[in-house]
C-alpha cells in the first residue's frame, strides 16, 4: 500500500517537475511547481512528518508561489521564444558525462554493503515529526539558529523593499506636491519680516503660514524665516 502511494506521489512529483521545465509559459511552470510541492507534502505525510507537510503546503504552495504568480502577473511575462541551440558540440559531451554519472551512482548503490547502510529499518512509529517535538527542539537546542533566522527574515524584508522601490537612490521623504520654492513675500505688511524682528515674530509668521496652508507640518516652522 505504502509502496503504491510512494510510486504515485513520486511519479506525480517527477512528472510535474518535468512539465515545469518543459513549459515555456512561466505561469504554467508555476502551476506545475505547485503540483510538485503538493506531492512532496504527501510524501512528507508518508514519512510521518505532518508538521513539515503542513508548512510545505502553507509556506511553499501558499506564500511563495502566490508571490511568484503575482510577479508573473505584474510583469506580464511573455512566453519564451525558442532559439537555436548554441555550442552544438557540447550536446554529445553532456550525454556522455550524464551517462557516466548515472553509471557511477548505480555502481555505488550496487556495491556490497552499500545497501545495508542505505536501507535502514524504516520509519518507526515515533513522535519525531510531531509539532510538539519540533517545537521543543526549535526552542531549546536550536534556539540560536531560530533567532538568527528571524534576523535573516528582517534583512530580506528590508532588502526586498529597497530593491523593488521605484527610485534607485532614496530621496528624502517629501510629498510630491510640496513646494520647494520659498514662499513669495506677501504684500500684507503684518507678515513681512523686518530687520530687527525677534524669534517670536518668526514663529508668529510661521504660524500664519501654517494656518493659510502654505506650510505643512508643525515642525516646518523654519519655512517662515526664509
Amino acid at each position: 500500500m505504502s509502496t503504491l502511494l510512494f510510486i504515485l506521489f513520486g511519479a506525480l512529483a517527477i512528472g510535474c517537475a518535468v512539465a515545469m521545465v518543459a513549459h515555456r509559459n512561466p505561469l504554467y511552470s508555476a502551476i506545475s511547481l505547485i503540483g510538485v510541492f503538493v506531492s512532496l507534502a504527501c510524501l512528507y505525510m508518508m514519512l510521518q512528518a505532518p508538521f513539515i507537510a503542513a508548512v510545505q503546503v502553507i509556506v511553499y504552495a501558499g506564500a511563495i508561489m502566490v508571490l511568484v504568480v503575482f510577479v508573473i502577473m505584474l510583469l506580464n511575462v511573455e512566453e519564451e521564444v525558442r532559439r537555436p541551440a548554441r555550442l552544438h558540440y557540447l550536446i554529445p559531451v553532456g550525454v556522455i558525462l550524464a551517462a557516466i554519472l548515472t553509471a557511477e551512482a548505480a555502481f555505488i548503490l550496487k556495491l556490497p554493503g552499500a545497501s545495508s547502510r542505505a536501507d535502514v529499518v524504516g520509519p518507526q512509529a515515533s513522535d519525531v515529526g510531531l509539532t510538539a517535538s519540533i517545537g521543543a527542539g526549535l526552542f531549546t537546542e536550536y534556539l540560536l539558529p531560530f533567532e538568527v533566522t528571524s534576523v535573516l527574515i528582517l534583512m530580506a524584508l528590508v532588502g526586498a523593499i529597497t530593491l523593488a522601490r521605484r527610485t534607485a537612490t532614496p530621496r528624502l521623504a517629501a510629498s510630491p506636491d510640496f513646494d520647494i520654492e520659498p514662499p513669495a513675500p506677501s504684500s500684507e505688511s503684518g507678515s513681512v519680516i523686518q530687520p530687527g524682528d525677534t524669534e517670536a515674530t518668526g514663529q508668529a509668521y510661521a504660524q500664519l503660514q501654517i494656518e493659510r496652508g502654505e506650510a505643512a507640518a508643525p515642525d516646518a516652522g523654519k519655512e517662515g524665516e526664509s
Binding site: M20, V59, E80, A105, A156
Partner: protein
C-alpha cells in the same frame, strides 16, 4: 516498507531536473522556480533521513531551509522586478552586463 534509497533516488532525480532547468531556462522567473525545486529535493532528503533514523534535527533543518527559501523568494523577486524595470525584459541574456 519503502527503502530509504527510494526517497534518495527520487530526491536526486528532482534535484537533477532542477539543475537542468536552471541551465536551459532563459527566463529569470523560471530559473528562480527551478532553484525552489532544488531546495525542495534537498528537503525531501532531510525529512527522509530524519524519519528513518528517528532524529528530529533533519526536520528542524528543513524548517530553516524553508525560511531561507522564503527570504530568497522575497529578495529574488525584488531583483527580478528591478531588472525588468531597467531592461524591459526578463531574459537573463539581456542582463549579462552589469551596466545599463
Amino acid at each position: 516498507m519503502i527503502p530509504l534509497s527510494w526517497y534518495l533516488a527520487l530526491s536526486a532525480v528532482l534535484f537533477t531536473i532542477g539543475v537542468v532547468g536552471v541551465i536551459i531556462k532563459r527566463n529569470a522567473i523560471a530559473m528562480f522556480m527551478c532553484i525552489e525545486l532544488m531546495l525542495n529535493a534537498v528537503n525531501l532528503t532531510f525529512v527522509a533521513f530524519s524519519s528513518y533514523f528517528g532524529d528530529v534535527t533533519g526536520q528542524l533543518f528543513v524548517f530553516i531551509v524553508m525560511t531561507v527559501a522564503a527570504a530568497e523568494a522575497a529578495v529574488g523577486l525584488g531583483i527580478i522586478i528591478a531588472i525588468f524595470r531597467n531592461r524591459e525584459s526578463l531574459d537573463v541574456d539581456d542582463a549579462s552586463v552589469l551596466k545599463l
